[in-house]
Protein backbone atom coordinates (compact mmCIF):
# COMPACT_ATOMS: atom_id res chain seq x y z
CA UNK A 1 0.00 0.00 0.00
CA UNK A 2 1.32 3.46 -0.83
CA UNK A 3 1.12 5.55 2.31
CA UNK A 4 2.64 8.66 0.80
CA UNK A 5 -0.29 9.47 -1.40
CA UNK A 6 -2.96 9.05 1.26
CA UNK A 7 -4.75 12.24 2.08
CA UNK A 8 -5.43 12.99 5.72
CA UNK A 9 -9.10 13.64 6.20
CA UNK A 10 -10.88 14.73 9.40
CA UNK A 11 -12.91 11.54 9.57
CA UNK A 12 -9.78 9.68 10.48
CA UNK A 13 -9.64 11.47 13.83
CA UNK A 14 -11.80 11.12 16.90
CA UNK A 15 -12.17 13.40 19.93
CA UNK A 16 -11.37 11.43 23.07
CA UNK A 17 -11.88 14.26 25.56
CA UNK A 18 -9.89 15.05 28.65
CA UNK A 19 -9.77 12.58 31.49
CA UNK A 20 -8.21 14.44 34.40
CA UNK A 21 -8.15 11.38 36.58
CA UNK A 22 -6.22 9.37 34.06
CA UNK A 23 -3.77 12.17 33.36
CA UNK A 24 -2.75 12.41 36.97
CA UNK A 25 -2.63 8.71 37.64
CA UNK A 26 0.77 7.15 38.28
CA UNK A 27 1.48 4.76 35.48
CA UNK A 28 4.24 2.81 37.19
CA UNK A 29 4.29 1.56 40.76
CA UNK A 30 6.37 3.84 42.94
CA UNK A 31 9.80 2.34 43.65
CA UNK A 32 12.30 3.59 46.18
CA UNK A 33 15.85 4.40 45.13
CA UNK A 34 17.24 1.34 46.88
CA UNK A 35 14.64 -0.98 45.41
CA UNK A 36 15.36 0.27 41.91
CA UNK A 37 19.09 -0.17 42.48
CA UNK A 38 18.42 -3.76 43.55
CA UNK A 39 16.32 -4.42 40.46
CA UNK A 40 19.06 -3.07 38.26
CA UNK A 41 21.73 -5.14 39.97
CA UNK A 42 19.59 -8.21 39.50
CA UNK A 43 19.26 -7.61 35.78
CA UNK A 44 23.02 -7.00 35.40
CA UNK A 45 24.37 -10.50 34.82
CA UNK A 46 28.03 -9.87 35.62
CA UNK A 47 27.29 -7.93 38.80
CA UNK A 48 24.73 -10.46 39.97
CA UNK A 49 27.15 -13.32 39.31
CA UNK A 50 29.74 -11.45 41.34
CA UNK A 51 27.30 -11.06 44.20
CA UNK A 52 26.39 -14.77 44.11
CA UNK A 53 30.07 -15.82 44.08
CA UNK A 54 30.81 -13.61 47.06
CA UNK A 55 27.85 -14.95 49.03
CA UNK A 56 28.93 -18.53 48.27
CA UNK A 57 32.51 -17.77 49.37
CA UNK A 58 31.35 -16.12 52.58
CA UNK A 59 29.08 -19.07 53.41
CA UNK A 60 31.87 -21.56 52.67
CA UNK A 61 34.31 -19.53 54.74
CA UNK A 62 31.91 -19.68 57.66
CA UNK A 63 30.79 -23.28 57.40
CA UNK A 64 33.38 -25.34 55.49
CA UNK A 65 35.98 -25.40 58.31
CA UNK A 66 33.26 -26.34 60.82
CA UNK A 67 31.99 -29.23 58.74
CA UNK A 68 35.37 -30.74 57.88
CA UNK A 69 36.97 -33.44 59.98
CA UNK A 70 40.38 -31.77 59.62
CA UNK A 71 41.57 -28.64 61.35
CA UNK A 72 43.55 -25.97 59.47
CA UNK A 73 46.85 -26.68 61.29
CA UNK A 74 46.56 -30.46 61.66
CA UNK A 75 49.61 -32.07 60.06
CA UNK A 76 49.79 -35.55 58.59
CA UNK A 77 53.21 -36.93 57.66
CA UNK A 78 51.61 -39.75 55.67
CA UNK A 79 49.65 -37.45 53.38
CA UNK A 80 52.05 -34.80 52.13
CA UNK A 81 51.58 -32.76 48.92
CA UNK A 82 48.75 -34.96 47.74
CA UNK A 83 46.64 -34.02 44.78
CA UNK A 84 42.85 -33.86 44.77
CA UNK A 85 41.10 -36.84 46.34
CA UNK A 86 37.88 -37.77 48.11
CA UNK A 87 39.78 -37.59 51.41
CA UNK A 88 41.32 -34.17 50.74
CA UNK A 89 39.20 -32.24 48.23
CA UNK A 90 41.93 -29.74 47.34
CA UNK A 91 44.79 -32.09 48.25
CA UNK A 92 47.28 -31.42 51.02
CA UNK A 93 50.22 -29.07 51.48
CA UNK A 94 53.83 -29.82 52.27
CA UNK A 95 53.07 -30.66 55.91
CA UNK A 96 50.07 -32.79 55.06
CA UNK A 97 47.54 -30.13 56.06
CA UNK A 98 44.17 -30.28 54.31
CA UNK A 99 44.08 -27.51 51.69
CA UNK A 100 40.26 -27.34 51.49
CA UNK A 101 40.08 -26.35 55.15
CA UNK A 102 43.07 -24.03 54.87
CA UNK A 103 41.56 -22.24 51.88
CA UNK A 104 38.34 -21.48 53.76
CA UNK A 105 40.07 -20.58 57.01
CA UNK A 106 42.26 -18.34 54.85
CA UNK A 107 39.12 -16.90 53.25
CA UNK A 108 37.88 -15.85 56.68
CA UNK A 109 41.08 -13.89 57.25
CA UNK A 110 41.45 -12.42 53.75
CA UNK A 111 37.80 -11.49 53.33
CA UNK A 112 37.42 -9.98 56.78
CA UNK A 113 40.65 -7.98 56.48
CA UNK A 114 39.54 -6.72 53.07
CA UNK A 115 36.08 -5.81 54.30
CA UNK A 116 37.02 -4.33 57.68
CA UNK A 117 39.97 -2.30 56.38
CA UNK A 118 37.89 -0.89 53.52
CA UNK A 119 34.96 -0.17 55.85
CA UNK A 120 37.04 1.66 58.47
CA UNK A 121 38.75 3.65 55.73
CA UNK A 122 35.40 4.68 54.28
CA UNK A 123 33.90 5.65 57.63
CA UNK A 124 36.89 7.76 58.73
CA UNK A 125 37.26 9.24 55.26
CA UNK A 126 33.55 10.05 54.98
CA UNK A 127 33.39 11.79 58.35
CA UNK A 128 36.52 13.87 57.85
CA UNK A 129 35.80 14.53 54.18
CA UNK A 130 32.19 15.45 54.98
CA UNK A 131 33.11 18.12 57.51
CA UNK A 132 36.04 19.37 55.47
CA UNK A 133 33.89 19.80 52.38
CA UNK A 134 30.96 21.33 54.25
CA UNK A 135 32.89 23.93 56.24
CA UNK A 136 35.46 24.68 53.54
CA UNK A 137 37.85 27.52 54.30
CA UNK A 138 41.07 27.12 56.24
CA UNK A 139 40.23 23.75 57.83
CA UNK A 140 39.49 22.36 54.41
CA UNK A 141 42.68 23.75 52.93
CA UNK A 142 44.86 22.33 55.71
CA UNK A 143 43.17 18.93 55.49
CA UNK A 144 43.56 18.81 51.74
CA UNK A 145 47.28 19.59 51.97
CA UNK A 146 47.64 16.82 54.56
CA UNK A 147 45.87 14.46 52.18
CA UNK A 148 48.08 15.55 49.29
CA UNK A 149 51.06 14.59 51.45
CA UNK A 150 49.62 11.23 52.49
CA UNK A 151 48.84 10.58 48.84
CA UNK A 152 52.40 11.38 47.85
CA UNK A 153 53.99 8.92 50.27
CA UNK A 154 54.12 5.42 48.81
CA UNK A 155 51.69 3.55 51.06
CA UNK A 156 53.39 0.20 50.64
CA UNK A 157 56.58 1.42 52.31
CA UNK A 158 54.63 2.74 55.30
CA UNK A 159 52.60 -0.48 55.46
CA UNK A 160 55.79 -2.53 55.63
CA UNK A 161 57.31 -0.43 58.42
CA UNK A 162 54.09 -0.36 60.43
CA UNK A 163 53.88 -4.14 60.16
CA UNK A 164 57.44 -4.43 61.49
CA UNK A 165 56.61 -2.13 64.42
CA UNK A 166 53.31 -3.79 65.30
CA UNK A 167 54.19 -7.38 64.47
CA UNK A 168 52.29 -9.72 62.20
CA UNK A 169 48.59 -10.41 62.61
CA UNK A 170 45.13 -9.36 61.50
CA UNK A 171 44.91 -6.29 63.72
CA UNK A 172 48.30 -4.95 62.63
CA UNK A 173 47.33 -5.47 58.99
CA UNK A 174 44.13 -3.51 59.41
CA UNK A 175 45.87 -0.69 61.29
CA UNK A 176 48.63 -0.53 58.68
CA UNK A 177 46.10 -0.25 55.87
CA UNK A 178 43.91 2.31 57.64
CA UNK A 179 46.84 4.65 58.39
CA UNK A 180 47.37 5.24 54.69
CA UNK A 181 44.00 4.27 53.27
CA UNK A 182 41.47 6.78 54.62
CA UNK A 183 42.77 9.62 52.47
CA UNK A 184 41.17 8.29 49.29
CA UNK A 185 37.67 8.07 50.73
CA UNK A 186 38.17 11.45 52.37
CA UNK A 187 39.09 13.21 49.15
CA UNK A 188 36.16 11.62 47.34
CA UNK A 189 33.56 12.51 49.99
CA UNK A 190 34.88 16.02 50.26
CA UNK A 191 34.42 16.55 46.54
CA UNK A 192 30.86 15.24 46.60
CA UNK A 193 29.91 17.31 49.66
CA UNK A 194 31.34 20.38 47.99
CA UNK A 195 29.06 19.72 45.04
CA UNK A 196 25.94 19.07 47.13
CA UNK A 197 26.18 21.70 49.83
CA UNK A 198 24.95 24.52 47.61
CA UNK A 199 21.84 22.63 46.54
CA UNK A 200 18.31 23.67 47.53
CA UNK A 201 17.52 20.80 49.85
CA UNK A 202 20.56 21.62 52.00
CA UNK A 203 19.57 25.28 52.02
CA UNK A 204 16.04 24.27 53.05
CA UNK A 205 17.38 22.19 55.92
CA UNK A 206 19.54 25.07 57.07
CA UNK A 207 16.64 27.51 56.90
CA UNK A 208 14.59 25.12 59.02
CA UNK A 209 17.27 25.30 61.69
CA UNK A 210 18.86 21.88 61.26
CA UNK A 211 22.27 21.59 62.93
CA UNK A 212 25.33 21.20 60.74
CA UNK A 213 26.02 17.72 62.01
CA UNK A 214 22.49 16.62 61.18
CA UNK A 215 22.64 18.27 57.76
CA UNK A 216 25.73 16.25 56.91
CA UNK A 217 24.39 13.02 58.39
CA UNK A 218 20.76 13.25 57.33
CA UNK A 219 20.80 15.30 54.14
CA UNK A 220 24.14 14.96 52.42
CA UNK A 221 25.43 11.49 53.28
CA UNK A 222 22.23 9.66 52.21
CA UNK A 223 22.59 11.39 48.86
CA UNK A 224 26.08 10.05 48.27
CA UNK A 225 25.45 6.69 49.94
CA UNK A 226 25.28 4.87 46.61
CA UNK A 227 28.66 6.19 45.53
CA UNK A 228 30.14 5.42 48.93
CA UNK A 229 28.97 1.82 48.75
CA UNK A 230 30.36 1.53 45.22
CA UNK A 231 33.73 2.87 46.37
CA UNK A 232 33.73 0.52 49.35
CA UNK A 233 33.15 -2.43 47.02
CA UNK A 234 36.01 -1.29 44.79
CA UNK A 235 38.33 -0.74 47.78
CA UNK A 236 37.99 -4.28 49.11
CA UNK A 237 39.98 -5.93 46.27
CA UNK A 238 42.95 -3.64 46.81
CA UNK A 239 42.90 -4.44 50.54
CA UNK A 240 42.85 -8.16 49.70
CA UNK A 241 45.78 -7.65 47.30
CA UNK A 242 47.68 -5.72 49.94
CA UNK A 243 47.15 -8.46 52.54
CA UNK A 244 48.35 -11.07 50.06
CA UNK A 245 51.41 -8.98 49.23
CA UNK A 246 52.38 -8.35 52.86
CA UNK A 247 51.86 -12.00 53.80
CA UNK A 248 53.92 -12.95 50.77
CA UNK A 249 56.95 -11.00 51.96
CA UNK A 250 56.45 -12.47 55.43
CA UNK A 251 54.97 -9.46 57.18
CA UNK A 252 51.24 -10.11 57.09
CA UNK A 253 49.79 -13.29 58.51
CA UNK A 254 52.35 -15.88 59.56
CA UNK A 255 51.93 -19.66 59.31
CA UNK A 256 50.48 -21.91 60.65
CA UNK A 257 47.65 -19.35 60.44
CA UNK A 258 46.24 -19.22 56.96
CA UNK A 259 45.25 -16.44 54.65
CA UNK A 260 45.12 -16.47 50.87
CA UNK A 261 48.40 -14.56 50.81
CA UNK A 262 50.08 -17.12 53.08
CA UNK A 263 48.77 -19.99 50.95
CA UNK A 264 50.00 -18.30 47.76
CA UNK A 265 53.42 -17.79 49.35
CA UNK A 266 53.61 -21.44 50.35
CA UNK A 267 52.39 -22.39 46.88
CA UNK A 268 55.01 -20.39 44.96
CA UNK A 269 57.77 -22.14 46.90
CA UNK A 270 56.45 -25.56 45.88
CA UNK A 271 55.25 -24.69 42.43
CA UNK A 272 57.42 -27.23 40.64
CA UNK A 273 56.47 -30.22 42.76
CA UNK A 274 52.85 -29.43 43.57
CA UNK A 275 51.47 -26.66 41.33
CA UNK A 276 47.95 -26.99 42.75
CA UNK A 277 49.21 -25.41 45.98
CA UNK A 278 49.63 -22.18 44.03
CA UNK A 279 46.76 -22.46 41.55
CA UNK A 280 44.08 -22.93 44.18
CA UNK A 281 44.81 -19.85 46.31
CA UNK A 282 45.50 -17.89 43.10
CA UNK A 283 42.10 -18.95 41.78
CA UNK A 284 40.29 -17.80 44.91
CA UNK A 285 42.14 -14.47 45.13
CA UNK A 286 41.45 -13.90 41.44
CA UNK A 287 37.77 -14.81 41.44
CA UNK A 288 37.09 -12.82 44.61
CA UNK A 289 38.75 -9.70 43.28
CA UNK A 290 36.95 -10.19 39.97
CA UNK A 291 33.60 -10.63 41.74
CA UNK A 292 34.08 -7.46 43.81
CA UNK A 293 35.08 -5.49 40.72
CA UNK A 294 32.08 -6.67 38.70
CA UNK A 295 29.75 -6.00 41.61
CA UNK A 296 31.30 -2.56 42.00
CA UNK A 297 30.79 -1.76 38.31
CA UNK A 298 27.20 -2.95 38.55
CA UNK A 299 26.58 -0.86 41.67
CA UNK A 300 28.01 2.22 40.03
CA UNK A 301 25.57 1.83 37.15
CA UNK A 302 22.70 0.93 39.47
CA UNK A 303 23.18 4.02 41.62
CA UNK A 304 23.72 6.38 38.71
CA UNK A 305 20.56 8.52 38.47
CA UNK A 306 21.42 9.44 34.88
CA UNK A 307 20.83 5.83 33.90
CA UNK A 308 17.49 5.64 35.70
CA UNK A 309 14.72 4.00 33.72
CA UNK A 310 16.87 3.34 30.68
CA UNK A 311 16.33 -0.39 30.78
Amino acid sequence: MDFHNQTITPDRFRVVGKNLKEMESISRPSITFWKEAWLRIRSNKAAFAGLVILIVYVLLAIFAPLLSKYSFDQQDAYAMRQSFSAEHWFGTDTLGRDLWVRVWVGARVSLSIGFIAALINSVIGTIIGGFSGYYGGKLDMILMRIIDIIYGIPSLIINILVMVVLGTGIQSLIIAMVITGWAGACRFTRGEVYRLKEQEFVLAARVLGQSTFMIIVREIIPNIMGLLITNLTMAIPSAIFREAFLSYIGLGISPPDASWGVLAKEGTALMQVAPHLLYIPAFFIGTTVLAFNQLGNGLRDAFDPRLRGTD
Binding site: G152, I153, P154, I157, I160, L161, F245, Y248, I249, T268
Partner: protein, 306 residues
Protein backbone atom coordinates in the same frame (compact mmCIF):
# COMPACT_ATOMS: atom_id res chain seq x y z
CA UNK B 1 50.95 27.87 35.39
CA UNK B 2 53.96 29.08 37.40
CA UNK B 3 51.77 29.21 40.51
CA UNK B 4 50.58 25.67 39.87
CA UNK B 5 54.13 24.38 39.47
CA UNK B 6 55.44 26.20 42.56
CA UNK B 7 52.57 24.85 44.62
CA UNK B 8 53.24 21.35 43.35
CA UNK B 9 56.96 21.59 44.16
CA UNK B 10 56.19 22.96 47.64
CA UNK B 11 53.88 20.03 48.39
CA UNK B 12 56.52 17.58 47.18
CA UNK B 13 59.19 19.04 49.47
CA UNK B 14 56.78 18.88 52.42
CA UNK B 15 55.88 15.31 51.51
CA UNK B 16 59.52 14.25 51.52
CA UNK B 17 60.05 15.93 54.89
CA UNK B 18 57.01 14.18 56.40
CA UNK B 19 58.16 10.91 54.86
CA UNK B 20 61.62 11.22 56.43
CA UNK B 21 60.13 12.07 59.82
CA UNK B 22 57.52 9.31 59.80
CA UNK B 23 60.04 6.69 58.70
CA UNK B 24 62.55 7.91 61.31
CA UNK B 25 59.94 7.56 64.06
CA UNK B 26 58.75 4.15 62.80
CA UNK B 27 62.30 2.82 62.62
CA UNK B 28 62.98 3.84 66.22
CA UNK B 29 59.69 2.28 67.31
CA UNK B 30 60.69 -1.10 65.93
CA UNK B 31 61.10 -3.74 68.60
CA UNK B 32 64.78 -4.77 68.73
CA UNK B 33 67.95 -3.01 67.54
CA UNK B 34 70.80 -3.65 65.09
CA UNK B 35 73.36 -4.89 67.64
CA UNK B 36 71.56 -7.81 69.18
CA UNK B 37 74.15 -10.55 68.91
CA UNK B 38 74.02 -12.33 72.32
CA UNK B 39 77.79 -12.96 72.20
CA UNK B 40 78.49 -9.22 72.18
CA UNK B 41 79.84 -7.82 75.46
CA UNK B 42 78.13 -4.72 76.86
CA UNK B 43 81.28 -2.66 76.20
CA UNK B 44 81.35 -3.60 72.53
CA UNK B 45 77.67 -2.80 72.23
CA UNK B 46 78.15 0.56 73.92
CA UNK B 47 81.08 1.34 71.61
CA UNK B 48 79.04 0.43 68.54
CA UNK B 49 76.14 2.54 69.74
CA UNK B 50 78.50 5.44 70.32
CA UNK B 51 80.14 4.93 66.91
CA UNK B 52 76.81 5.18 65.12
CA UNK B 53 75.60 7.97 67.39
CA UNK B 54 72.79 5.87 68.80
CA UNK B 55 73.64 6.93 72.38
CA UNK B 56 72.69 10.54 71.70
CA UNK B 57 69.17 11.91 72.28
CA UNK B 58 66.75 10.95 69.49
CA UNK B 59 66.09 14.58 68.58
CA UNK B 60 69.80 15.17 68.06
CA UNK B 61 70.08 12.00 65.98
CA UNK B 62 67.19 13.24 63.86
CA UNK B 63 68.82 16.64 63.35
CA UNK B 64 72.13 15.02 62.41
CA UNK B 65 70.36 12.71 60.00
CA UNK B 66 68.50 15.57 58.32
CA UNK B 67 71.74 17.53 58.05
CA UNK B 68 73.55 14.63 56.41
CA UNK B 69 70.58 13.99 54.17
CA UNK B 70 70.70 17.54 52.82
CA UNK B 71 74.27 16.86 51.73
CA UNK B 72 73.06 13.63 50.07
CA UNK B 73 74.77 11.43 52.65
CA UNK B 74 72.78 8.43 53.85
CA UNK B 75 75.39 7.24 56.35
CA UNK B 76 77.02 3.85 56.94
CA UNK B 77 75.21 0.54 56.94
CA UNK B 78 75.06 -0.98 60.42
CA UNK B 79 75.19 -4.56 59.15
CA UNK B 80 77.47 -4.50 56.11
CA UNK B 81 80.84 -3.43 57.52
CA UNK B 82 82.43 -0.33 55.96
CA UNK B 83 79.69 -0.01 53.35
CA UNK B 84 77.94 3.29 52.91
CA UNK B 85 74.24 3.24 52.19
CA UNK B 86 75.00 5.43 49.17
CA UNK B 87 77.22 2.70 47.73
CA UNK B 88 74.68 -0.04 48.27
CA UNK B 89 71.98 2.10 46.69
CA UNK B 90 74.18 3.01 43.74
CA UNK B 91 74.87 -0.66 43.04
CA UNK B 92 71.27 -1.87 43.37
CA UNK B 93 68.93 0.95 42.34
CA UNK B 94 69.81 0.84 38.62
CA UNK B 95 68.39 -2.70 38.44
CA UNK B 96 65.13 -1.70 40.09
CA UNK B 97 64.84 1.39 37.92
CA UNK B 98 65.59 -0.54 34.76
CA UNK B 99 62.95 -3.14 35.56
CA UNK B 100 60.44 -0.48 36.58
CA UNK B 101 60.92 1.55 33.40
CA UNK B 102 60.64 -1.52 31.18
CA UNK B 103 57.43 -2.56 32.91
CA UNK B 104 56.02 0.96 32.66
CA UNK B 105 56.80 1.35 28.98
CA UNK B 106 55.39 -2.09 28.25
CA UNK B 107 52.21 -1.58 30.25
CA UNK B 108 51.54 1.94 29.00
CA UNK B 109 52.06 1.21 25.34
CA UNK B 110 50.24 -2.12 25.27
CA UNK B 111 47.54 -0.89 27.64
CA UNK B 112 46.72 2.07 25.40
CA UNK B 113 46.84 0.02 22.21
CA UNK B 114 44.67 -2.77 23.66
CA UNK B 115 42.18 -0.26 25.03
CA UNK B 116 41.90 1.50 21.67
CA UNK B 117 41.57 -1.71 19.66
CA UNK B 118 39.01 -2.98 22.13
CA UNK B 119 36.89 0.17 21.94
CA UNK B 120 37.02 0.35 18.14
CA UNK B 121 35.82 -3.27 17.97
CA UNK B 122 33.17 -2.83 20.62
CA UNK B 123 30.99 -5.89 21.08
CA UNK B 124 32.77 -8.31 18.74
CA UNK B 125 35.21 -11.14 19.41
CA UNK B 126 38.37 -9.00 19.35
CA UNK B 127 36.87 -6.75 22.01
CA UNK B 128 35.84 -9.75 24.08
CA UNK B 129 39.37 -11.13 23.90
CA UNK B 130 40.98 -7.93 25.16
CA UNK B 131 38.31 -7.47 27.83
CA UNK B 132 39.01 -10.97 29.13
CA UNK B 133 42.77 -10.30 29.15
CA UNK B 134 42.13 -7.09 31.07
CA UNK B 135 39.81 -8.80 33.56
CA UNK B 136 42.35 -11.54 34.24
CA UNK B 137 45.15 -9.00 34.52
CA UNK B 138 43.35 -6.93 37.14
CA UNK B 139 42.37 -10.00 39.18
CA UNK B 140 45.74 -11.67 39.69
CA UNK B 141 48.37 -10.20 42.06
CA UNK B 142 51.73 -9.56 40.40
CA UNK B 143 53.70 -12.04 42.51
CA UNK B 144 51.37 -14.86 41.48
CA UNK B 145 51.60 -13.73 37.86
CA UNK B 146 55.40 -13.78 38.21
CA UNK B 147 55.47 -17.28 39.65
CA UNK B 148 53.13 -18.63 36.98
CA UNK B 149 55.05 -17.03 34.10
CA UNK B 150 58.32 -18.30 35.54
CA UNK B 151 56.92 -21.81 35.87
CA UNK B 152 55.61 -22.08 32.33
CA UNK B 153 58.03 -20.06 30.20
CA UNK B 154 61.23 -20.82 32.08
CA UNK B 155 60.85 -24.08 33.99
CA UNK B 156 58.43 -26.07 31.88
CA UNK B 157 59.07 -24.90 28.32
CA UNK B 158 62.58 -23.52 28.84
CA UNK B 159 61.97 -20.60 26.47
CA UNK B 160 63.39 -17.86 28.66
CA UNK B 161 65.91 -17.62 31.52
CA UNK B 162 64.50 -18.55 34.94
CA UNK B 163 66.19 -15.82 36.95
CA UNK B 164 69.02 -13.28 37.18
CA UNK B 165 69.36 -10.12 35.12
CA UNK B 166 72.05 -10.14 32.49
CA UNK B 167 70.62 -9.44 29.08
CA UNK B 168 67.40 -8.62 27.26
CA UNK B 169 66.08 -12.18 27.50
CA UNK B 170 66.35 -12.01 31.29
CA UNK B 171 64.26 -8.87 31.44
CA UNK B 172 61.23 -10.17 29.55
CA UNK B 173 59.46 -12.26 32.19
CA UNK B 174 59.97 -9.87 35.12
CA UNK B 175 58.81 -6.91 33.03
CA UNK B 176 55.64 -8.71 31.94
CA UNK B 177 54.94 -9.93 35.47
CA UNK B 178 55.35 -6.44 36.86
CA UNK B 179 53.52 -4.62 34.10
CA UNK B 180 50.58 -6.94 33.49
CA UNK B 181 48.28 -5.53 36.14
CA UNK B 182 48.96 -1.96 35.07
CA UNK B 183 48.57 -2.84 31.40
CA UNK B 184 45.19 -4.39 32.14
CA UNK B 185 43.90 -1.49 34.19
CA UNK B 186 45.10 1.08 31.64
CA UNK B 187 43.43 -0.81 28.81
CA UNK B 188 40.17 -0.82 30.80
CA UNK B 189 40.36 2.89 31.51
CA UNK B 190 41.24 3.65 27.89
CA UNK B 191 38.43 1.49 26.54
CA UNK B 192 35.81 3.11 28.80
CA UNK B 193 37.14 6.55 28.01
CA UNK B 194 37.10 5.93 24.24
CA UNK B 195 33.49 4.78 24.43
CA UNK B 196 32.54 7.84 26.45
CA UNK B 197 34.25 10.25 24.07
CA UNK B 198 32.64 8.75 20.99
CA UNK B 199 29.23 9.93 22.21
CA UNK B 200 30.35 13.54 22.57
CA UNK B 201 28.97 16.26 20.33
CA UNK B 202 32.35 17.22 18.90
CA UNK B 203 32.67 13.76 17.40
CA UNK B 204 29.31 14.26 15.69
CA UNK B 205 30.51 17.65 14.50
CA UNK B 206 33.68 16.15 13.11
CA UNK B 207 31.68 13.44 11.39
CA UNK B 208 29.22 15.90 9.89
CA UNK B 209 32.13 17.97 8.60
CA UNK B 210 32.98 14.90 6.58
CA UNK B 211 36.28 14.00 8.23
CA UNK B 212 37.59 10.53 7.56
CA UNK B 213 37.12 7.86 10.19
CA UNK B 214 40.87 7.66 10.72
CA UNK B 215 41.14 11.38 11.36
CA UNK B 216 38.21 11.35 13.76
CA UNK B 217 39.61 8.45 15.73
CA UNK B 218 43.18 9.70 15.77
CA UNK B 219 42.76 13.45 16.21
CA UNK B 220 39.51 13.74 18.14
CA UNK B 221 38.70 10.51 19.92
CA UNK B 222 42.08 9.19 21.11
CA UNK B 223 43.46 12.59 22.03
CA UNK B 224 40.55 13.36 24.30
CA UNK B 225 40.20 9.83 25.62
CA UNK B 226 43.77 9.75 26.84
CA UNK B 227 43.24 12.33 29.61
CA UNK B 228 41.80 9.91 32.21
CA UNK B 229 44.85 7.71 31.64
CA UNK B 230 47.15 10.64 32.34
CA UNK B 231 45.35 11.30 35.65
CA UNK B 232 46.17 7.81 36.93
CA UNK B 233 49.79 7.95 35.77
CA UNK B 234 51.13 9.19 39.12
CA UNK B 235 49.73 6.36 41.25
CA UNK B 236 50.58 3.95 38.43
CA UNK B 237 54.25 4.87 38.44
CA UNK B 238 54.32 4.43 42.22
CA UNK B 239 52.57 1.06 42.02
CA UNK B 240 54.88 -0.30 39.34
CA UNK B 241 58.05 0.89 41.03
CA UNK B 242 57.12 -0.45 44.47
CA UNK B 243 55.97 -3.68 42.83
CA UNK B 244 59.57 -4.32 41.80
CA UNK B 245 60.34 -5.46 45.38
CA UNK B 246 58.46 -8.72 45.03
CA UNK B 247 59.25 -9.35 41.39
CA UNK B 248 62.96 -8.93 42.21
CA UNK B 249 62.75 -11.62 44.86
CA UNK B 250 60.95 -14.05 42.54
CA UNK B 251 63.45 -13.60 39.70
CA UNK B 252 66.53 -13.14 41.93
CA UNK B 253 67.29 -9.70 40.55
CA UNK B 254 69.96 -7.84 42.58
CA UNK B 255 67.86 -4.68 42.97
CA UNK B 256 66.88 -2.58 45.95
CA UNK B 257 64.08 -4.85 47.08
CA UNK B 258 66.53 -7.38 48.49
CA UNK B 259 68.40 -4.77 50.55
CA UNK B 260 65.15 -3.28 51.76
CA UNK B 261 63.68 -6.54 53.04
CA UNK B 262 67.04 -7.61 54.50
CA UNK B 263 67.56 -4.32 56.29
CA UNK B 264 64.08 -4.49 57.78
CA UNK B 265 64.80 -7.97 59.10
CA UNK B 266 68.23 -6.97 60.50
CA UNK B 267 67.15 -3.63 62.03
CA UNK B 268 69.82 -1.93 59.96
CA UNK B 269 68.51 1.56 60.86
CA UNK B 270 70.53 3.60 58.42
CA UNK B 271 69.81 1.16 55.58
CA UNK B 272 66.03 1.12 56.21
CA UNK B 273 65.98 4.89 56.39
CA UNK B 274 68.22 5.24 53.38
CA UNK B 275 66.32 2.90 51.09
CA UNK B 276 62.91 4.20 52.17
CA UNK B 277 63.81 7.86 51.92
CA UNK B 278 65.60 7.41 48.62
CA UNK B 279 62.80 5.35 47.12
CA UNK B 280 60.07 7.54 48.57
CA UNK B 281 61.73 10.70 47.31
CA UNK B 282 62.12 9.16 43.89
CA UNK B 283 58.41 8.29 43.79
CA UNK B 284 57.39 11.73 45.07
CA UNK B 285 59.47 13.33 42.32
CA UNK B 286 58.00 11.00 39.70
CA UNK B 287 54.54 11.94 40.90
CA UNK B 288 55.40 15.61 40.77
CA UNK B 289 56.68 15.38 37.21
CA UNK B 290 53.50 13.54 36.17
CA UNK B 291 51.32 16.20 37.81
CA UNK B 292 53.18 19.06 36.20
CA UNK B 293 52.99 17.27 32.87
CA UNK B 294 49.26 16.84 33.41
CA UNK B 295 48.96 20.56 34.09
CA UNK B 296 50.62 21.25 30.76
CA UNK B 297 48.46 18.75 28.87
CA UNK B 298 45.11 19.78 30.35
CA UNK B 299 44.18 23.28 29.17
CA UNK B 300 41.71 23.66 32.05
CA UNK B 301 44.54 23.58 34.60
CA UNK B 302 46.86 25.54 32.35
CA UNK B 303 44.42 28.42 32.11
CA UNK B 304 43.01 28.27 35.66
CA UNK B 305 46.48 28.39 37.18
CA UNK B 306 47.61 31.53 35.35
Amino acid sequence: MVKYITKRIGISILTVLVLVTVVFILVRLMPGDPFNDPKMTPTVRANLNAYYGLDKPVIQQYATYLGNLLRGNFGYSMIYPNQTVNNLLASSFPYSLDLGIRALVLSLSLGLVFGIISALNRGNKIDLFFVIVAVIGTSVPDFIMGAILQYFFAVKWGLLPIAQYYGFAHTILPSIALGFYTMASISRIMRASMLEVVQQDYIKTARSKGLSNFRITWKHQIRNAILPVVTVLGPTVAAVLTGTFVIESIFAIPGMGKYYVESVQNYDYSMILGTTVFYGTFLVLANMVVDIFYGIVDPRIRIAGK
